[in-house]
Subunit: 453 residues, 2 copies
């Protein structure tokens, strides 16, 4: 029973000093900017912040023993500029321009190949597409259309009108046209990451690997040294992170930890609109599909574009260096949100959800089993499929890549850096600008993506 | 290694028949409309659907042994029409009108008392409020303003200018004005729920209590009777729910299960933007605060309005019948998302996060410990704090009440019913209309709530 005032002036205040944990690892216990996660987003952001603020110490903390060992390493590395949502378009287009600059102007090899994206469309899908085509063209998106006869001629192996018993049961429709996005293609995520990592190191950015961030430490801005702080009414700041190697204090925390980000934020009651969904890739190679790797007319590489079938979001990309195709499919309704510790691809997924359709349109895939496979996770923002970048007290959270982290990473790093600086607008590589708040949680205004086939 | 087509025509198709599980409970295994959850939202929605579709069988499944045993029962039952967001205003205002109609026209006692909401504002908060005041008044929201002298006169116990050492440490500011929303007040959630429950029963709606829904069953619309269905490319429907008493088949499923809803939806990979956050209520009674129950001038009941302090979202409502106040506080940043099985209120939360502030503005609360307390959870939609109502195949999901389920329940039931009927627009009780898609996930357009103090 307390009848006297409960809140009293603190007598003294000392900053807790973390002790050496005896593991003998070089550990930092304090930095100006702490970036959690060394995937492509963490690296791109850390690089931009360090570059603009050379006087600040920037430390990247990563659970693995090297950078880029998580979801980034599992990406198929495809990129496109074909979006109707302005935010998506700005982020992707400026990032692609920057990647082209790196490779073609600066000679930093990203294995970037402008092979294009090819959507094989049914008649009804074409109607949907025509609805947004004008808008996309007027925004400078390069598109090329292929008639049935073009497609048949360029890809003799393609079945335009699947008619087998299986096709009828599945409900496959005829391919009516092909649409190719030209400013689209593939690159090697690990090489792009390497660029940001090495540049960050040159600038003096530091890394601490093998360190698991367990939680964010939230403290009162004006502490009273009472047990149980922070209280509900107190203004709060993030003072650092608790790791399996002790506390690391930081003036600013950048959360770019992929699917660990919602986990860390849930613990402080912040929703970043992001959930994990497994995605699988199957590697198909061999004589039967070899012919499809060499297809003329779509690009300078004389290969297939990154190609989408009309159903099931089934897609494949050629990987010339290994003479194979990487095949995948989007499965949305029915695929639970779940983060698997050691995710593996499911053979049955290829057998039943991909192969029956793929082998009807491209019979060369029939009977070829995957040579290998792997699985990762999308960090899905189901609301609008667009990244979230938000300042929250002294924390910048970056989440919800929804599978397009690679293709937007440079733009995201620049927007996150602007959020760090407290700027209202970010300048992107191609000279365009974007209001930082549009990507935030509070005044989100990303626009609806209409190009969804 | 399969070289022949994998998908073959099903030879026969039989609907699985659930067996009696021997528990001796009257169980239904089939219905037209299955409503999961018998809180205020499930009841309101089930009632509207049954009323508009008397020929359909409507079954409400509930884990508890009676209706309204979950979060609805823990609500403080306050309602207000003071919103700037059109969606919030339409839902709340029409619901309040309906509740008034029930009590004042039809004589169905809801213990509805129009005691008003009172916001005690500092000078800077008043500036924010003035920014939206005109908009609210023009939308027909009844507001009354109190000067400092009014407040002092009406509530002799109020300290307008807290000046103690504790006040300074907390950073309390002077109360500059009071704003009262007049078309606001309190009601008894269990009585309102009772109305919908009894009306639903009269119409022939059925209940199955003591039944835990464990998962949604998702099947292909055109099944092939192959193992592992549904495949990614198949169109899918919800055929029913798995419960601890067996499978229940339904043509339509209405998910109104509060914080079980995101759990059930996560398993099929659908994000309803909803997470659980604990909220606590402390009951304060006794001679010291008794005087504050009887305050003249604010309302016909001659009591305090539901009152908000200028800091920490601290609020209290008078409960005349039990001669007490129910006191609470919003704690957002720092309060983790978590669903406690048996949530209880934390004494320390009252001691440190509520009492120091409450007792500075209203010293009569100083030294009075809670007579009792309880805790529940908000089903928080962090994005916009507004309910989500979305049709997904043959499932209607209703989530994200964010603490305002009671005050919007009638409108929500009507919008959900319109979603069930496939109507684009819902007709609300007060004659206003609302586009159903505005509350959905796909084309969400709820508008930004600007009245957040």
């Amino acid at each position: 029973m307390a009848t006297t005032p409960l809140i009293e002036k603190p007598q003294h205040r000392t900053r807790e000093k973390p002790e050496d944990n005896g593991k003998g690892v070089a550990e930092k216990h304090q930095c100006d900017v702490l970036v959690v996660g060394s995937g492509i987003i963490g690296l791109s952001t850390a690089y931009r912040i360090k570059k603009s603020n050379p006087g600040l110490s920037v430390l990247v903390i990563e659970r693995a023993n090297a950078a880029v060992q998580g979801e980034t390493a599992k990406s198929t590395g495809a990129f496109r500029d074909c979006f109707t949502s302005e935010v998506n378009r700005l982020l992707a287009r400026s990032s692609i321009e920057f990647y082209k600059h790196l490779q073609f102007d600066l000679g930093f090899n990203l294995k970037l190949e402008l092979i294009g994206y090819l959507w094989l469309l049914t008649r009804s899908q074409l109607q949907e597409f025509e609805f947004v085509e004008e808008e996309m063209r007027s925004q400078g998106i390069s598109l090329r259309t292929y008639e049935r006869s073009d497609l048949q001629e360029m890809m003799p192996g393609l079945v335009l009108d699947p008619a087998s018993e299986q096709s009828k049961l599945i409900g496959l429709k005829a391919v009516h046209k092909g649409i190719q996005g030209l400013n689209c293609g593939t690159l090697a995520p690990e090489l792009l990451s390497k660029f940001y990592e090495s540049e960050l190191r040159k600038l003096g950015g530091e890394f601490q690997f093998g360190t698991v961030v367990k939680s964010l430490r939230l403290e009162p801005k004006n502490p009273l040294d009472l047990p149980g702080e922070p209280f509900a009414w107190q203004e709060k700041v993030f003072t650092g992170v608790e790791t399996d190697r002790g506390f690391v204090a930081a003036d600013t925390i950048v959360l770019a930890a992929g699917l660990e980000t919602p986990f860390l934020l849930d613990a402080v009651g912040v929703d970043c609109l992001t959930k994990p969904k497994k995605r699988q890739v199957f590697r198909i190679r061999g004589e039967a599909v070899e012919r499809l790797l060499a297809v003329k007319g779509f690009n300078d590489q004389n290969t297939m574009p990154f190609t989408f079938l009309p159903i099931g979001d089934i897609h494949f990309r050629p990987v010339l260096g290994e003479r194979s195709f990487w095949v995948g499919a989007g499965d949305n309704l029915g695929r639970r949100f779940h983060l698997e510790k050691e995710a593996t691809a499911e053979e049955s997924f290829y057998t039943y959800s991909i192969c029956p359709i793929l082998s009807e349109y491209f019979p060369c895939f029939a009977g070829v089993r995957p040579a290998s496979s792997w699985a990762g996770h999308y960090d899905v923002n189901s609301l609008d499929g667009t990244p979230v970048i938000q300042r929250l007290s002294n924390c910048i959270l970056i989440a919800g890549m929804s599978g397009s982290g690679i293709m937007k990473a440079d733009g995201i790093g620049r927007v996150a850096e602007a959020a760090f600086e407290g700027k209202s607008e970010a300048q992107l590589y191609d000279g365009s600008t974007i209001e930082v708040s549009r990507l935030g949680l509070t005044n989100r205004a990303v626009g609806k993506e209409k190009f969804v086939l």
